[in-house]
Amino acid sequence: MAGSNEVNANECRMVVPLNTWVLISNFKLAYNMLRRPDGTFDRHLAEFLDRKVPANAAPVNGVVSFDILIDRTNNLLARIYRPAPPNPSPATTPLADFHRPPSPDPFPVIIFFHGGSFAHSSPNTAIYDSLCRRFVSLCGAVVISVDYRRSPEYRYPCAYDDGWAALKWASTEPWLHGGKDAKLRVFLCGDSSGGNIAHHVAVRAAESGIEVSGNILLNPMFGGNHRTESEKRLDGKYFVTIQDRDWYWKAYLPEGADRDHPACNPFGPNGVPLEELPFTKSLVIVAGLDLVQDWQLAYADGLKTAGKDVKLVYREQATIGFYLLPNTDHFYEVMEEIKHFVTSNL
């Protein structure tokens, strides 16, 4: 990698705006410091460096947020975002108002799993707080951002268990059931590892009979044992290396497992067939400069082959994290795709 660094750097700089480059490079560098070669993770430094924002019960751009405890036994927290309720009368408390549906009409509930390759970030990480707020404004949704347990301290299947717990919780909350038919219209959404979690929670939902209106996977994190062409071609070029991907899989998957474990490679040799399951429809967004795109494209193909409804959105010039800052065309185009997907599947 050494010799071609400068070439890599030049190419990368050409496709992203300067502030995006600074943001993602900063993450890359900080994350490099946190991953130890022996597979352990400097969690304290990670939390120190992570930029967080508190929940805010006062409306900001018409959106309010608050934190809740979903499951006491696992200390499973989530941050809920919703449109600000109309001005309450002086005698009521915001607490009461926040637990009413945001609208008498059907509205989407988006359960969001933040990215971070299973190890980094939290719902209160600033970039994800912003993204969730954006989803509320975009779709009139209630967004539930789940604070799932992270690796390497908690490996597979903890993140999936927590995602599942959040979905079950949502299905028992009366105020999340909208429209005259009082129905939960839930979308599972996530970026990077969050996309992976969304898939697996959707499988569990299909197996258990909870209806999911749709999956939205933004640059989902999948992989496998063999090295794909895109991985080889793009290794180290746009913020991400094969080596770091390997580290995160090793930290998440069970000890001794390899990357053909179904969590990592759902359509690989050990995958669970989806043909017979009422698996939901999916919107899969792939960035053309993401080195794992071959796995993501294979995932979309796998869904199609299993007879599941999938729309693939491929953006050539997009790198990882393009959806974090609203300063490119693909950002806005993808947001429109998400909005369309949600509103047409309510």
Binding site: N19, V22, A57, F66, I68, L95, N327
Partner: protein, 608 residues
Amino acid sequence: MSSSFRSDMGTDPYDSVGDDRWIIASASDRGSSRGEIDSLLHGAGYRVRSTDLRHVAIGLEQLESTMVGDQCVASSAEAIHYNPSDLTAWVDSMLSELAPDPHLLRHPLSTAAANTWADPTQQRPSLHRLENHHQHRNVPAVSLQSMDEEEDAAIRLVHLLVSCADSVQRGDSEMAGSLLDQTRLALARVNTGFGIGKVAGYFVDALCRRLYPPPPSATGGGGSAANLEILYHHFYEACPYIKFAHFTANQAILEAFQGHDRVHVVDFNLMHGLQWPALIQALALRPGGPPLLRLTGIGAPSPDGRDALREVGLRLAELARSVQVRFAFRGVAATRLEHVRPWMFQVAPGEAVAVNTVLQLHRLLGDRASPEGGDAAAAEPIDTVLEWIVGLKPKIVTVVEQEADHNKPSFLDRFTEALFYYSTMFDSLEGGRVGGSHRGGQQQQQTVVAAVAEAYLQREMCNIVCCEGAARVERHEPLARWRDRLGRAGLRAVHLGSNAFKQASMLLTLFSGEGYCVEEVAGCLTLGWHSRPLISASAWRADDADDASPPRDHQTLVLQDHSSSITSGSNNVVDGDDHLHQHSVMRSHMGSSDRINDTGSGSSCSRV
């Protein structure tokens, strides 16, 4: 589990005081506003001036070059990070730590290459103006019981309490009384073992007290200083807040004392001196040997002829002797902080001074003027005290305060804030305990400790709800306001680094309740429960602290729990005369000329 919100507070301009003021630079202004903070990065939690972006980018590339493979992790493990939000400073400090010799950089970038970032006109104007959502820091967490009924009852209870407080504020005592009755009924339907139910009971009592204040004679005994010390000590044991405060403050003091061989700590509230054994130990172990340490402890006068301050001083002196730290102690007894004068400390020339205030400064605040009137123009006690603190030219001022706004002008606002703040607090007491893996006997003892800790908190709550004027001393204000105030007084923030953060996090792992969290915000640390910060620790120095401070050192405090050694310490107090001879334990006492008499009201409360 706690359920907490602030009532919507769009109107109070003080609520919009954020810890960082910044100017929104929309992309359309990008040409003319080059010197302003990049708004998109600000939304992501980073403050970088647009004009600095290239510098930071180049720095990041250089950093990457120096960090190759395993060496990257190893070398960066030694580094201490300060203020990760300020990318410019962070990158520069990392570069100087990890790549001190620029000639060693592998791929120095040519200036031509450095300018090849994507054309900024490709950026679309931002359609969403980012607002300053770093305001309103103190909005606490909410959780819901899974059963509908329980949830409804809790919501109803909160509603009733707030309505009752509202009637009290409007002076409608009949309505308030009737609501109180309804609240008691609602209380019966809620689980009062934890969460909002538990704390609601206390608030009902407090409201009752405010509506129907007991006659003055009845309030006499409860407020004695000795009782308060017992409550405080149990609070210290039951949860990590005070330990966190002590530990973080000590770390900052230790760093500030680097290179000084005569140091003087002024402690605004000595109590049992629980904070100081760890510092004494750390000073004993520091490279180059310990300094001469003087400690001046301020505390309430002892009513019964005991000299509590002196006793604490003797115990600390004994400890100092055992680790060979030259130590001297002085006690200053005062019923109110604003009566203390700096000459009482007898600061010697050439001494490095540290001022330590844990949960004290808020007691010096007065009523906040209404929003329209702006901040109070008249000098409050806080201004006087801050002035003489600055006058001491301290190397460091450590400030620990509750992270809440319990000093709002409106009673209803204060009440609502307090309701949610203390319910989170109580939750953490409960949660920290339940998770423990102790045997039965210890479990019981823990229950007792937690119960007394609750009594400590109840005192605070009661003061906020029932008292007004000089009697209301629990005037907590959030970090953002303290930042302003301390800044105006001439103090500049000193960033607490990742070291302090890491050690604080490790402290938390000793507590089994997994809900505690430490966060870094612009150089200060907060400790909270489930993402609601409850206490903040920050460090300051005088603006014009002249001598260049010695380079920050990586020495860290040894984390020890000394509380038990203090409480059992009464057996270890060496004979007083022996001490006086060996250590010149000084005591400013209490000739009547020094005793500060207070004609104020102490613990009695007046009704609004």
